[in-house]
């Protein structure tokens, strides 16, 4: 240990020919599971917070890489073909990674890049007679810890080939649910047996591990580098034909999705079909169950949307979808302090509460912003960037409670956001013993506790153990660091850390510096 420390002391900045000092960013890429070096991995250095590429090189046979960079804050990306990973991940799925801080006294020449090898999930889908099912839709839903909460998200989907085989790869290790939907070949085109009595069957959706009950679906734990298998056997059951008619505008043409209840709030797509008025859409081979019909369409009059639930019980079901114009969302941002100019770089975000999908619109110098035609559902509105947050949100043209808009279609929504720059900054270092605590999770939770994702913050510390919450709304907070991810939006999980947390007050435009010690 001592010898090593002496070595560190000898590292002095190198001075390039241009005269600007450069510092080494070097190390080795190792397989996180085995510790063996990884050759031929492409390493790319980017300036943190941008997509500007500073330098790039490929690791040698010994897995080593070496860059000489000016003083700065960098992200290091390793990639091998279609798979990439950021420096500082502590687990294969999720996580923010750590930036590398170069400069005087920083040891950035001995980085260990733990590479979580991608794995795959593959298998074969058969029918009850043992024959392969082609065109079965296999959906992968991932359970992931992100931004202080555990969520399930749609990850990928694929179709089986003529042998009934599917394969997802390369994919990161993690927790996955697998869902399979299909229609019997004899029901679909070109075989078209749907109108023949005795052939009007459908396949019940299946979930890993080959069960029909979504509530009992298990997680497939994929280890890094693992080639997991999940085989399925679909069973045909008597099913229904669902006819959908569309109204609300002339010359509608679009796509309609029939989605089953699925896993943990992530619907399992059963079928999708394009439609045109007056033809409508017909789904055959739909097994009994509860579904959501979602349609999006374009017409000369603009973009139209509709959502409706439908229960399929008997041999047929009819559904009339009234298409409404897609919500038009626009508005203005004004500063809380009269006369204050709106800084550039601010943007308004609308986030779907269910799917967690969102879109952002930049705020123009005059304070106006505008979204493209959007979807329906429960949508959260927020303002961020340039040290701003929305101290007040006023919504006209849609139901609005607790920061969430309810969009049912046909709305013209006008949002007024009052922007406050009463934010402060919290920065500091986390240490383990005398060493910088790289990759620690620092949480800044509002006091009293609130589940508001916009009032609770986390930061994965950088190579020098530093953390930096650049924009924090003024107020009272609890600050703590942990060695592992914290589900801090869950009050019960948060409560475990609060007794040892530091009380922090963030003043408007104030800067607070803190040092945190980890075990």
């Amino acid at each position: 240990m001592k010898a090593l420390r002496l070595l560190f002391a000898c590292i002095l900045p190198l001075v390039s020919l241009q005269g600007a000092a450069t510092y080494p960013v070097a190390g080795v890429v190792i397989d996180a599971a085995t510790g063996s070096p990884m050759p031929s991995v492409r390493m790319t250095v980017m300036t943190t917070g941008t997509s500007d590429i500073v330098s790039s090189a490929v690791t040698g046979k010994d897995g080593r890489f070496s860059f000489a960079l000016p003083r700065g804050k960098y992200n290091l990306l390793a990639s091998s073909q279609e798979y990439q990973q950021i420096y500082g991940l502590t687990r294969p799925s999720g996580g923010a990674g750590s930036s590398i801080i170069t400069g005087e006294g920083q040891d950035t020449a001995h980085l260990i890049f733990r590479w979580f090898r991608p794995g795959s999930i593959s298998g074969r889908v058969r029918d009850e007679s043992g024959e392969p099912v082609e065109f079965a839709r296999v959906q992968l839903v991932r359970s992931i810890m992100a931004s202080g909460r555990r969520t399930t998200q749609f990850f990928a989907e694929t179709m089986t080939n003529d042998l009934g085989e599917y394969r997802f790869g390369p994919i990161p290790g993690g927790e996955f649910y697998v869902a399979v939907t299909a229609e019997p070949w004899y029901v679909s085109l070109p075989f078209n047996g749907r109108n023949i009595s005795g052939l009007d069957n459908g396949f019940s959706p299946l979930y890993y591990p080959n069960i029909t009950d979504a509530a009992r679906a298990s997680v497939l734990q994929l280890k890094p580098g693992e080639e997991a298998r999940a085989d399925f056997t679909l069973v045909a059951v008597p099913s229904a034909t669902v006819k959908v008619e569309f109204s609300g505008a002339d010359n509608l043409a679009g796509t309609v999705y029939l989605t089953g209840q699925g896993i943990a709030g992530v619907g399992t797509l059963q079928r999708q079909q394009s439609f045109g008025k007056p033809v409508g859409a017909t789904f055959s081979g739909i097994p009994p169950g509860s579904y959501v019909l979602t349609a999006t369409a374009t017409a000369p009059a603009g973009r139209f949307v509709a959502v409706q639930t439908i229960d399929v019980t008997g041999p047929s079901a009819n559904c009339a979808l009234l298409m409404r114009p897609a919500p038009k969302i626009s508005g203005t941002v004004r500063m809380k302090e009269p006369g204050q100019r709106i800084p550039s770089g601010a943007y308004v975000t609308v986030l779907d509460e269910t799917s967690r999908n969102g879109s952002s619109a930049p705020v123009k110098p005059d304070g106006s912003f505008q979204f493209g035609p959007g979807g329906l559902g429960r949508v959260k509105v927020s303002l961020s960037g340039s040290g701003l947050f929305a101290s007040e949100v006023h919504v006209e043209g849609a139901e609005f409670h607790d920061g969430v808009m309810e969009l049912a279609g046909g709305e013209t929504v006008n949002i007024t956001l009052v922007a406050s720059d009463e934010t402060g900054r919290l920065m500091g270092f986390a240490v383990r013993g005398e060493r910088p605590a790289e990759g620690a999770i620092v949480v800044l939770a509002s006091v009293p506790a609130s589940g508001d994702p916009f009032r609770n913050y986390s930061f994965q510390t950088d190579s020098d153990g530093s953390f930096d919450f650049e924009t924090v709304r003024a107020g009272e907070y609890a600050l703590f660091a942990a060695n592992e991810d914290v589900e801090y939006l869950n009050p019960k999980e948060l409560a475990r850390y609060l007794p040892t947390a530091k009380k922090i007050t963030i003043e408007p435009h104030g800067v607070v510096t803190e040092r945190l010690v980890l075990r």
């Binding site: 279609e82 991608p118 080939n161 042998l163 790869g169 004899y186 023949i196």
Partner: protein, 542 residues
């Protein structure tokens, strides 16, 4: 009961009496087999359609409609329908992995009364091409688009017969399935991708990535240097690739006149383009029109960007680094007027004036994936005809006349008969296409003095002078369905021609002079205006 029907149409009485007498029923049974191997097929869907009753008989229309019943074959490939009324039925079989039951051997007409046993239905199995794509170090290359396509000649030009792209997985494995028997080109094309759009105030850049030059199975970067894969019915053929993966670069820039948040097609065409190239993987900023084209190997290219009805073309060269700051300005599509002038209207006294008309079609040159043949939309004889919405680019102008022959066709000073490649420049209003047509012309007709096993002959007529709208192709026919194979070309420009007879079904690229040069055994004919030449020819050799 019978007396009730007296006075009605006799056939209705018969129909009613048949029902009253409890008509006998019959059965149809048989087997479904694989046409390539003869092996019985289990779980094939067999559908029987009753065609014995007319589609409507007055008030009995409901019950008399054709009905379809279906069953699956058992483990021995056998099927049976019973309780069928007498009459004509159609029985067809189908199953995934086999060609559709429109193929004759998979469908039979049977006449019931008595029962029919031993109906054999044959399904033609589909094939697959599968393989592995590895790099120079033997490692799998992931996400390669393997293009599998067949070529056919259409109107003398090469066209895509069938096309699909199949990606390699994390093992570098691809599998192209459900392929009809035939000959396929297999090409490992660039990394999977289309223009993927993002919305941001700033431009997104992606990290460096490796790339490779597209290569055909059997070697070479062009289809005509490749070895097509011959696929027999039901066969699975392996086609493996070993690629040389090299450092690749980005081309970045912005689109001028870009319409916000609408997608665009990016084509990066090399100096010596292939018939079929997948478009590049592109990141497109939907707010600003800034783009980044990925995986570009060093070389000279023409970048072509098409958004809706506008196109930009920029020449660029990529050396050993990323290329930034490319500006591609979209120019709208243009309409090209077409003026037809009919000369020499003097017709012989008493003869009926014949309608004379010409039409122009523009065949885009280069990548067949995005080509769409454009034709003038107006009716013949309309004075203001035009070819609408022509994007900037190079086209081959094909002129077809009826009732006469084109004496000349021009676009400005360009003679379209001798140099048919028309270049449409961005931002320039195009000169009209002018065609001078003379009514009448020469006639060449005749017969082929050889028999072929196929249906007939494909007759090619290649002009031996440059000022022509040819070559022409025609299928031979038999007068009244019998006798020798004959042909008849009319409205020919006076001059010297060579006639070739090729067995029908050999679809050839006859508009390609290099192809015509490979033919031997043709017969030369000289024809004058108003003259008819009778010729007897033998088969020509390719």
């Amino acid at each position: 009961m019978r007396t009730y029907w007296v006075g009605l149409l006799p056939w209705l009485i018969l129909a009613a009496s048949a029902v009253a007498q409890e008509e006998p029923t019959y059965s149809v049974a048989g087997r479904v087999t694989n046409s390539a191997t003869g092996v019985p097929i289990r779980r094939a869907l067999v559908q029987i359609t009753d065609r014995s009753l007319p589609s409507s008989i007055g008030s009995r229309a409901e019950t008399a409609r054709t009905t379809t019943r279906a069953t699956f074959t058992d483990d021995f490939g056998d099927f049976r329908f019973s309780g069928l009324p007498p009459g004509l039925c159609s029985v067809g079989a189908s199953k995934p992995g086999f060609a559709a039951d429109t193929v004759l051997s998979a469908r039979r007409e049977v006449k019931l009364g008595p029962s029919v046993e031993d109906v054999e239905l044959q399904l033609s199995p589909l094939g697959a091409i599968t393989g592995t794509v590895l790099d120079q170090d033997g490692r799998p290359v992931i996400g390669v688009r393997v293009l599998v396509f067949s070529l056919k000649a259409d109107d003398g030009n090469l066209q895509i017969g069938s096309f699909r792209a199949w990606p390699t997985d994390d093992r570098g494995v691809y599998r192209a399935s459900s392929l009809e028997p035939g000959s396929y080109y297999v090409k490992a094309d660039i990394r999977a991708g289309e223009a993927s759009m993002y919305i941001s105030a700033t431009m997104r850049k992606s990290p460096p990535h490796e790339g490779f030059a597209p290569v055909y199975f059997g070697g070479g970067s062009k289809y005509n240097s490749a070895k097509p894969v011959r696929l027999d019915p039901g066969a699975t053929v392996r086609a493996d690739f070993a690629l040389t993966v090299l450092p690749a670069f980005k081309v970045r820039g912005s689109i001028g006149n870009y319409v916000n948040r609408r997608s665009a097609v990016f084509e990066l065409v090399g100096a010596d383009p292939d018939l079929l190239d997948w478009n590049s993987k592109v990141l497109l900023n939907g707010d600003t029109g800034e783009f980044e084209i990925q995986d570009v190997l060093p070389g000279a290219y023409t970048l072509r960007i098409t958004q809706d009805q506008a196109r930009a073309e920029v020449r660029l060269a990529v050396a050993g680094s990323d290329l930034d700051g490319v500006v591609a300005r979209l120019s709208p599509a243009v309409d090209i007027p077409v003026l037809t002038q009919i000369t020499d209207l003097t017709t012989s006294p008493g003869a009926k004036p014949r309608p004379v008309a010409c039409e122009v079609s523009l065949q885009p040159l280069g990548n067949l994936l995005y080509s769409k043949v454009l034709m003038e939309g107006g009716l013949p004889f309309q004075p203001d005809r035009k070819i609408s919405s022509v994007l900037p680019g190079a086209y081959r102008a094909a002129i077809t006349c009826s009732g006469g022959y084109a004496r000349y066709a021009t676009a400005g000073s360009q003679n379209l008969l001798t140099s048919p490649v028309l270049s449409v420049q961005p931002g320039v209003s195009p000169l009209p296409i002018q065609i001078a047509v003379s009514p009448g012309g020469g006639k060449i007709s005749g017969m082929v003095n050889e028999e072929v096993s196929s249906a007939g002959w494909m007759i090619l007529l290649a002009p031996q002078f440059p000022q022509s709208t040819g070559p022409y192709a025609q299928r031979s026919y038999r007068r009244g369905g019998a006798g020798p194979a004959v042909f008849n070309f009319s409205n020919l420009a006076p001059g010297s021609y060579t006639l070739y007879a090729l067995p029908e079904g050999t679809e050839v690229e006859y508009r390609n002079p290099a192809f015509l040069a490979t033919l031997t055994g043709g017969v030369s004919v000289l024809v004058g205006d108003g003259e008819t030449k009778e010729v007897t020819i033998g088969s020509s050799v390719r």
